[in-house]
């Protein structure tokens, strides 16, 4: 196996072409996937488990999972398809490897931020509250403009660092902090309105 650089150099193949390679069971499918999306997928992992080796293993597991799923699957949006596999694998890895450890993880930091607006309510059945909160979050996210929705997803779904979100959007970190704070408060109000939080 030749090590490859994760940053795309030169021309990259289209998603269609890469998927076709998977369908043809060509090994190059994996190298082309890594060439195009490796770096991006790596960030998903690194935000959750700050361990380079673990991240690379997760990345390899993602490619394996992709190889196993295509065919028969033909993903509509390849990037999203890869991201979901990657995130699930990384979360499983995090649960297995770090169940009892306090590890540096941006995900844990971002989840802690949500303590102010999202905690289990002991007086309600957990399954019920999870489903209700999920529904409320969706309504809330759909009410947001594109920029705020993007910030929320980056921070709490992908556990991106504040600085990285700021760099992507070309705004100051303070702006991202402020937006996140406002959104957490709004979310808290929405949960309270639904009786999901005290």
């Amino acid at each position: 196996m030749k090590p490859t650089n994760d940053i795309a150099k030169g021309s990259v193949m289209t998603d269609e072409a890469i998927i076709d390679l998977y369908w043809k069971r060509e090994e190059r499918a994996i190298s082309e996937t890594d060439k195009k999306y490796g770096r991006y997928l790596y960030t998903i992992a690194y935000n959750i488990i700050h361990d380079r080796l673990d991240c690379e293993e997760c990345l390899n597991d993602t490619y394996l999972g992709t190889w196993n799923r295509i065919p028969p699957t033909r993903p509509n949006v390849f990037l999203v398809f890869l991201s979901k596999i990657m995130r699930n694998i990384v979360l499983d890895r995090f649960r297995q490897s770090h169940a009892d450890k306090r590890v540096p993880s941006e995900m844990i930091v971002s989840l802690n931020e949500l303590n102010e607006c999202m905690l289990p309510n002991p007086s309600l059945e957990e399954e019920y509250i999870i489903r209700s909160m999920g529904s409320t979050i969706n309504s809330y996210l759909e009410s947001l403009n594109a920029k705020r929705q993007f910030i929320f997803i980056c921070r709490y779904y992908y556990s991106d660092q504040i600085s990285n979100i700021a760099t992507m959007l070309g705004v100051s970190e303070a702006t991202v902090y402020r937006e996140l704070g406002v959104m957490r408060q709004e979310l808290k109000k929405a949960f309270r309105k639904e009786g999901l939080m005290k």
Partner: protein, 1131 residues
């Protein structure tokens, strides 16, 4: 990971995929744009995959090297999709069949513990309360054994696409293949197929479960040979058709012991889903904390399961779970097929437990194998402490607190040791009574109420009924009281009910009360309405009305106060008068009354007062006591002065009339009835110190109004206004009037002298008076004097214009019967028509005539006056035309150029100004016909001063005559400057309207302007101004000097600025083009003082100056001069 973080992740995992998708793409784009440090990472492909790939590549290479040139096609496998491969919607559609949410209702049992009812049917869904359900524990303790098989999920009868993948680098033509024994050839491949991907459309059919598609015998063409493709890939693909025919499990022969349970598992898997997916079946035992034991049920047939070493009298749950692919799209997973909770057997259980408010009854259910045992100890516990030991044989407990929780523990001997069972129970709570005060009633002095008690446990005892008021609290004599009497009106009273009860809850006797506020009805205060009915100079009449619905009045007195507030007199009657008062003084009438409303306030007092004054009327008279109908009467009122008192209104004949005040009098003017009569004057209100107070002073003053007395007509006894010389006629004045009267004088203005003089009369009848002599000049009756009721009154009457004409008696009149005879009449001779004369086609030439022409009642018809201005000309006052009819006369004149003045008249006009004031005398002459006058005027010319069209003559005396016809004046230029006069006869100092009648349809056409009207008056004047012309082109004004425009030929009064109203111009500059100055251009009241004429004095003398130009005549004249003039005359 903390539980709370896991919780959050679960919540976040529910974010909608489309939101994640959208933002993931955005994140990727932005991240790729951002410059970030690179990382070093290794990656690897699992060795198994790599080996497969390597072998495949190697195999191909080896095979390919065998023939040296071409590579045999190699079958590599099949894939299944729901849409045509390589299309945009290529995401696999997996079908997720969500199981229904199962959740047991929390058990709300007031008895818990070792009692038979609770052990018999434990809740199998959620037997352990809040502990995790067995399904969850199973998933965490059992792993899914074996990997997922590649399977495509579909719905029944769904069309799917199977793609056969072939490595075919040398592009051999693929001929056919066999799938599940059915041969498919190339033409059956779907669009999109190529030499390496053969797409086949397949319907999965209605059969649910797993379908397998196996490929075989793929043929390809190599030159002329048909060869087999090398089969290296998996030849079978699997399609899972979703189904609800899922495996089920049940148990049989269940047997529960003290320490074990056994049962037979009965599996039903109609589609063999468990077997086809390589699944397993287990029986598991759960105690609410962990899965205690797992037993695999091997082949789905009847299998006996037994769990041993269980605790006695303990709750467990077992389940039958299977690890298989349910074809719901989730792959293999653990699914619970059956579950049940149970208690292991007990030696003894409490049985028939019944809880009451104060106790418990119970029995025991002994296991059949323990019938020889018995309870040895029985004790009652509360809050962890023993309350009492009970008899071991007791089956009930009493005397407990209500709504409290107790534990009953029973001990028995088993195998030489003591064992216990217990139940915890809560006694039923007693219900607190509720009391309410109902049905409140009230009067002005009492209240009533009811008491309603709701007390299911009969705990309530009424102890007290009280009435609470601001003045204090009164307790009812008995608990049966439901009303209180003798109360104050309009007061709040609170009914307070006190009661006690004991809930047997350990808190002892409770006291409570219930209250209701009831307000007694209010009594109504009496109302007094006071009015002043009349005041005289020494009395004031009053009246009042009292409304006292609740009869609360105590006292009432009427007082009269003077201006200083001193009581002058008192009274109590509802109506009365205070007499003997001083005139012209202010007084106040006060009604003072007291009453008690029984509301605790005591006696109240109210007053009602009106101030007025005794008014001394000095006089009420009519300024003119007798008037004509239609005239108004002014009443003059004088009162003795009272400071600050002003009369405000007066009612006359039932109508309010406004008052006007002067220093001495008030005046009120009104229009009386036309027939006259008596009038009553009521002085209604007066202003008193700024306020309005009633007065109602009634005056009996009579105002007498006479009926109309006026002159009806003045006529000769022959019924006309003319008479022949020597004829015996009398002139009468006829009056009209409804009241008896006597005329004593008649006043006239005679002739052209506007002076009043008396004309002598004598009474003929009540309404007809004869003139002592017949006036020869026109005169006008202006007034008369009459007597009525011994008084005489002078009346200015409606003006009656009268003209009596004496016609000279004809001397040997010459008879006329032909047109020629008419044309040949000679002046100075008298003529009489003997028949009607038709003048059709006769070319009439006007001539001067004087004498008496008697038409004798005959008619001259169809006379045409073409190009002439009248029938006769220059006929003076000694020309008489009598008793003549002219029918269908046409006077038609065309004037080709501008003229200074122009007059036309049917009977007579003048050639010039001479004798113009001496027209003919016309009597009983009736004309029909028309006058047509056309004036041709160039743009540079102006029409002269006056254009006149008359029916009879320009001047003269005309009576008892009429004209009916039309007049048409056409002027070929809009602005002509002059006046137009139309009518029967020209203007005069006396009108003769009542003597000359008829209608004239008048049409004036001036340039593009047309004016139409109908005349019935004697004559009417209009001007080119009324026709819309503008005058400003005729002059300009600089300071006080008017410059007449160069080129104007004729000046007339409208060629100067507003000369009628005498604008203060003092100078006028007249150009040399002016040839005439029209009538009345510079009248006597003009302010003109200086005239500058741009010609010589000699030329000025050639300018025709019309009459009424005195200001022009009197002005200082300056004529044109080469040198600057120093004196008047030249400049």
């Amino acid at each position: 990971m903390k539980r709370s973080d896991e919780f959050k992740l679960k919540v976040l995992s529910l974010i909608k995929p489309e939101i994640i998708d959208r933002n993931s793409k955005k994140r990727y784009e932005l991240m790729m744009r951002a410059s970030r440090p690179k990382r070093n990472r290794k990656w690897m492909i699992p060795s198994t995959i790599a080996a497969v790939l390597l072998l495949a590549v190697l195999g191909v290479w080896l095979f390919g090297s065998g023939n040296g040139l071409k590579q045999v096609p190699i079958y590599q496998g099949m894939s299944v999709s729901s849409t045509l491969p390589n299309t945009s919607a290529s995401v696999d559609e997996h079908y997720l069949l969500l199981g229904e949410q199962q959740g047991g209702q929390p058990q709300d049992d007031e008895i818990s513990g070792d009692h038979k009812d609770g052990h018999e049917n434990p809740d199998s869904d959620k037997p352990f309360g809040d502990e995790p359900p067995i399904e969850e524990e199973v998933k965490s303790s059992l792993e899914v054994v074996g990997g997922a098989r590649s399977i495509f999920y579909a719905q029944p009868n769904q069309t799917v696409y199977i793609t056969v993948h072939i490595n075919n680098p040398d592009a051999f033509e693929i001929l056919s293949f066999t799938l599940n024994g059915v041969k498919y050839t190339s033409y059956m491949f779907k669009e999109g197929s190529d030499l390496e991907n053969l797409i086949l459309e397949v319907n999965v059919g209605a059969v649910e479960g797993i379908q397998e598609y196996t490929i075989d015998a793929i043929k390809y063409v190599d030159g002329t040979e048909i060869k087999d493709v090398r089969m290296d890939g998996d030849r079978t693909v699997r399609v899972g058709v979703a189904t609800d025919k899922q495996p089920t499990a049940s148990v049989a022969n269940e047997s529960i012991g003290f320490n074990d349970i056994s049962f037979d598992v009965v599996l039903d898997d109609p589609l063999s889903l468990i077997n086809q997916s390589g699944g397993r079946v287990y029986a598991v035992l759960y105690d609410g904390e962990t899965i205690l034991e797992t037993v695999e049920v091997w082949d789905g047939r009847l299998n006996t399961v037994r769990f041993k070493e269980l605790k006695t009298n303990t709750l467990y749950q077992y389940a039958i779970v299977a690890d298989y692919d349910s074809l719901s799209g989730n792959g293999r997973e653990l699914i619970t097929l059956y579950k049940k909770a149970f208690y292991t057997n007990a030696i003894v259980l409490f049985d028939a437990v019944t809880v009451s408010q104060e106790g418990l009854s119970f029995g025991y259910a002994w296991h059949e194998n323990a019938s020889d045992k018995q309870i040895s100890l029985l004790s009652l516990w509360k809050d962890g402490a023993k309350i009492s030991d009970l008899s071991a044989s007791a089956t009930s407990v009493s005397g407990l607190l209500s709504g409290h929780t107790y534990t009953l523990i029973a001990s028995y001997w088993n195998d030489d040791k003591t064992e216990q069972i217990s139940i915890t129970f809560t006694t039923q709570a007693k219900t607190a009574p509720t009391v309410s005060v109902t049905n409140p009633t009230k009067t002005q002095t009492s209240i009533g109420f009811g008491i309603s008690v709701t007390d299911p446990d009969q705990l309530c005892t009424l102890t007290k009924i009280e009435l609470v008021h601001a003045n204090g609290t009164v307790e009812a004599d008995s608990l049966d009281v439901r009303a209180f009497e003798n109360l104050l009106s309009n007061n709040d009273y609170t009914v307070k009910i006190t009661y006690t009860y004991d809930l047997n809850d350990g808190k002892g006797l409770q006291t409570a009360n219930k209250t209701l506020v009831i307000k007694t009805k209010a009594k109504v205060a009496p109302v007094v309405s006071l009015s002043i009915n009349n005041v005289t100079e020494t009395s004031i009449s009053y009246s009042y009305t009292l409304t006292d619905v609740d009869s609360v009045l105590a006292t009432l007195i009427v007082r009269l106060l003077d201006a200083d507030g001193n009581v002058i007199a008192t009274a109590t009657d509802t109506a009365g008068a205070f007499e003997g008062l001083t005139a012209s003084r202010k007084y106040t009438v006060v009604v003072e009354y007291t009453f008690d409303l029984n509301d605790g306030v005591g006696v109240r007092m109210l007053t009602k007062s009106i101030s007025t004054a005794t008014v001394k009327i000095l006089s009420i008279t009519a300024q003119v006591p007798v008037i004509n109908a239609g005239a108004s009467v002014t009443i003059q009122i004088k009162i003795e002065d009272i400071p600050n008192v002003t009369l405000q209104s007066v009612m006359i004949d039932g109508k309010e009339v406004s008052l006007t005040k002067t220093a001495l009098y008030y005046y009120a003017t009104f229009s009386p009835k036309s027939t006259g009569g008596k009038y009553t004057v009521i002085l209604g209100t007066m202003s008193f110190d700024g306020g309005s107070v009633p007065m109602n002073y009634v005056s009996d003053l009579d105002i007498l109004v006479m009926g109309e007395i006026s002159v009806d007509s003045v006529v000769l006894s022959n019924g006309t206004h003319y008479y022949w010389s020597g004829e015996d006629v009398t002139a009468y004045v006829n009056f009209i009037g409804s009241e008896p009267f006597t005329i004593t004088k008649v006043y006239i203005e005679s002739g052209y002298v506007n002076a009043k003089s008396e004309i002598l009369i004598r009474k003929v009848t009540d309404v007809q008076y004869a003139l002592e002599s017949i006036p020869t000049d026109p005169f006008r009756i202006t007034g008369f004097v009459y007597e009525y009721n011994g008084k005489t009154y002078e009346v200015t009457t409606n003006q009656i214009d009268v003209l009596f004409i004496e016609i000279p008696k004809q001397t040997s009149p010459i008879e006329i019967s032909t047109p020629e005879q008419l044309q040949n009449m000679q002046p100075g001779r008298d003529y009489i028509l003997t028949q009607d004369i038709d003048m059709s086609g006769f070319d009439w030439t006007p001539f001067q005539y004087y004498g008496v022409l008697n038409g004798n009642g005959y008619t001259i018809r169809n006379l045409t006056l073409d190009g002439v201005t009248s029938m006769f000309k220059n006929s003076g006052s000694n020309c008489y035309i009598v008793n003549l009819n002219l029918e269908n006369v046409l006077l038609s004149v065309y004037v080709p150029e501008a003229v200074p003045n122009f007059y036309v008249a049917i009977l007579s006009t003048y050639d010039d100004e001479k004798g113009k004031n001496n027209g003919p005398t016309v009597a009983n002459c009736h004309i029909t016909g028309s006058i047509e006058l056309v004036l041709e005027v160039n743009d540079s010319e102006e029409v002269a001063d006056v254009i006149s069209l008359f029916a009879f003559s320009r001047y003269g005396l005309i009576t008892d005559s009429s004209f009916n016809g039309s007049m048409n004046l056409t002027v070929k230029k809009t602005f002509q400057g002059g006046y137009y006069v139309f009518g029967m006869v020209s203007t005069s100092s006396i009108s003769y309207g009542q003597l000359v009648s008829g209608e004239i349809d008048l049409t004036i056409t001036a340039g593009d302007k047309v004016l139409k009207k109908t005349l019935t008056s004697l004559h009417e004047t209009t001007s080119s101004w009324e026709m819309g012309a503008e005058a400003t082109e005729y002059y300009t004004v600089v300071g006080d000097c008017v410059y007449v425009t160069q080129g104007v030929k004729t000046m007339h009064r409208n060629c100067l600025p507003d000369s009628w109203s005498n604008i203060n111009f003092t100078k006028v500059v007249i150009p040399k083009t002016v040839k005439a100055v029209g009538w009345d251009t510079f009248s006597t009241d003009s302010t003109l003082t200086i005239v500058y004429y741009e010609g010589s004095e000699a030329e000025w003398k050639n300018v025709a100056i019309g009459g009424n130009n005195d200001a022009l005549s009197n002005a200082t004249m300056y004529f044109y001069s080469e040198s600057r003039p120093t004196t008047a005359g030249n400049y």
